[in-house]
Amino acid sequence: MVQPEVSSAAPVRSRGLMSVPKRFLPVIATFVVFVATFGVGSVRYEGFASGQVMANLFIDNAFLIVLAVGMTFVILTGGIDLSVGSVVALSTMIAAAALQAGWPVWLVVLAVLASGSGLGLAMGWVIHRFGVQPFIVTLAGMFLARGLCFVISVESVSIKDSTFRALATGSIELPGGVTITYGVVIALAAVLAAVYVLHLTRFGRTVYAVGGSESSARLMGLATTRVKIGVYVISGFCSSLGGLLFSLYMLSGYSLHAVGMELDAIAAVVVGGSLLSGGVGFVIGSVVGVLVLGTIQTLISFEGTLSSWWTKIVIGALLLAFIALQRVIVRRT
């Protein structure tokens, strides 16, 4: 029999072992796994460990980062936004069509951002006002946005505007000969803004509160209505901003752009440690999530000889490896 006295003072204190709060663990775990994978890639493939490959990860995923940022807000409140991919396509379409029609660039940018945010507002309002599940409303929004693309033009429209072209092809030289695009800068700015809003404003804290318990948040007298609608506006805004970045990336508007990108965005957010049930997660996690997905893509293209089906299988397997490792790390600590 164990003597109660033996371990008398011991049991209470052991909770202090982790200096990082538990809620950061998933993000850190994701990051660790990301770095590890990158390391594996560097060992395996020649030319993988270059700064430019890392920079390309950002260049090629700038729009997805912005989408994931918006999606993080929505998911933090326990909602979901399936419309983001279509809104990206719609944004590229509006931008291309408007530029073709000779609108000035500033007006085009404004129009795109306004239409995305407006659609977000409408969806948020329906979700809140009529108590309809976000899934249906944003799915309808997804149909609508994609449908509007076709209404504008079935064919793809090239962007010939010189400002857009300059922005798209221009690059910023970083020390070490690494170049990034303006899109990356905009995406990172969006991330910073999101972190600020989520952690340093009342709106942001209310987002977390609503996700934790909407009824409690309401009883606590918080502005739940504003937040519940607001997150969809933010997501709509981010989608259209992402759409602008995408039109820079593609220099075209096309109604079949970004098909299924909503799933990428959701996956990035969830891989980054956010819970779909709401209230738990960080924007930074979502960014790392995007990088993870991007790394998987990069690994695939560096592997270079996978057949089409093995490509899919390997993507699935790598995704699994990521989340399984992440779970292991979170559980161990």
Binding site: G47, T169, Y249, T305, L306, T311
Partner: protein, 306 residues
């Protein structure tokens, strides 16, 4: 069938003295049997020509194709080839390739760029022409038929747009009229579902024009279920000429198929060697493709590989 236009290149490397040419090929995806045949042809012919092939599947996403091309630039391949998902939006990445001095060959579909120096040549079919061929045949063999229903490919997809356009142009000014048109997403079940609905809502259907064989095969099922005889009661025209389509054609269930040849591999490898060697190549190389009637199908069918 495919045929090489140039002479077979020697399999022993290129002029620059590299022991082996490396080609980066960014495929759209593997969304259809046609595409798979296309991929297979390229892989096989690359091996036969002694070209090292780096292959990537973009899962139908243009951004993935762009990423793949970027990574080829990084990996300093000798030549890049790809089938553009869509014709717009390639300027930036092609410019990068140009700056890196890597020649680019387009297959399957052109890109819409003012700067034609961005790529060396374009090897592929002409979708508008395919639609036209279908229309022309119908005009010549209409025999009193009037009402055409059209099974479109995926809305917004280039082949769908062009095959529709070519067909419309060809039948313009005749008695022939497209009375209903709807997308069947290039799939058999799509074609079947749409055709089922047409058979009930369109009073008189004389001709089905399907943008690919698969939708046509789906339509055949629907027509049979409605108690009609495909190929007789309702004429069927399709594009592609994959094996299943040719079988149906030989059986008289399809009346006419316009070929869209996926076996570009050999021509592509020849072009690649020339391009790498710095030789002049024509800016546009059209793949050899024909059309098949029922009788032609019967003779051609045994040779069909895909």
């Amino acid at each position: 069938g495919s045929g090489g236009s140039g002479d077979a290149g020697s399999p022993s490397g290129n002029a620059k003295g590299d022991d082996k040419i490396t080609m980066g090929f960014a495929q759209v995806g593997a969304e259809s049997g046609w595409r798979t045949a296309n991929t297979k042809s390229i892989q096989e012919e690359a091996a036969a020509a002694g070209i090292e092939l780096k292959f990537s599947d973009a899962q139908q996403k243009q951004e993935n194709q762009i990423k793949a091309i970027r990574s080829y630039i990084q990996q300093k391949v000798d030549v890049i080839a790809f089938s553009p998902v869509v014709e717009t939006g390639w300027d930036a990445v092609l410019l990068e390739a140009k700056r890196a001095n890597i020649p680019v060959i387009l297959t399957d579909r052109a890109v819409d760029s003012d700067d034609t120096s961005l790529y060396k040549t374009f090897l592929g079919s002409d979708f508008v022409e395919e639609g036209k061929k279908a229309g022309e045949w119908l005009k010549a063999n209409a025999a009193g038929a009037k009402n055409v229903v059209e099974l479109q490919g995926t809305t917004g997809a280039a082949p769908a747009i062009d095959r529709k356009k070519g067909f419309e142009d060809a039948i313009a000014g005749t008695d022939l009229k497209v009375v209903a048109t709807q997308t069947g997403d290039f799939t058999r079940s799509g074609g079947k579902q749409v055709m089922e609905a047409f058979l009930k809502s369109v009073p008189q259907i004389d001709v089905v024009y399907a943008h690919n064989d698969d939708m046509g095969l789906g339509a055949i099922e629907a027509i049979k279920a409605a108690g009609k005889v495909p190929g007789k009661d309702i004429k069927i025209i399709t594009v592609d000429a994959v094996k299943d389509g040719m079988t149906a054609l030989a059986a008289g269930e399809i009346n006419f198929i316009v070929e869209c040849n996926p076996l570009l591999g050999k021509q592509l490898m020849e072009l690649a060697k020339k391009v790498v060697a710095g030789e002049e190549v024509p800016p546009r190389v059209v793949t050899e493709e024909g059309t098949f009637t029922v009788d032609q199908a019967k003779t051609e069918l045994p040779n069909r590989k895909y």
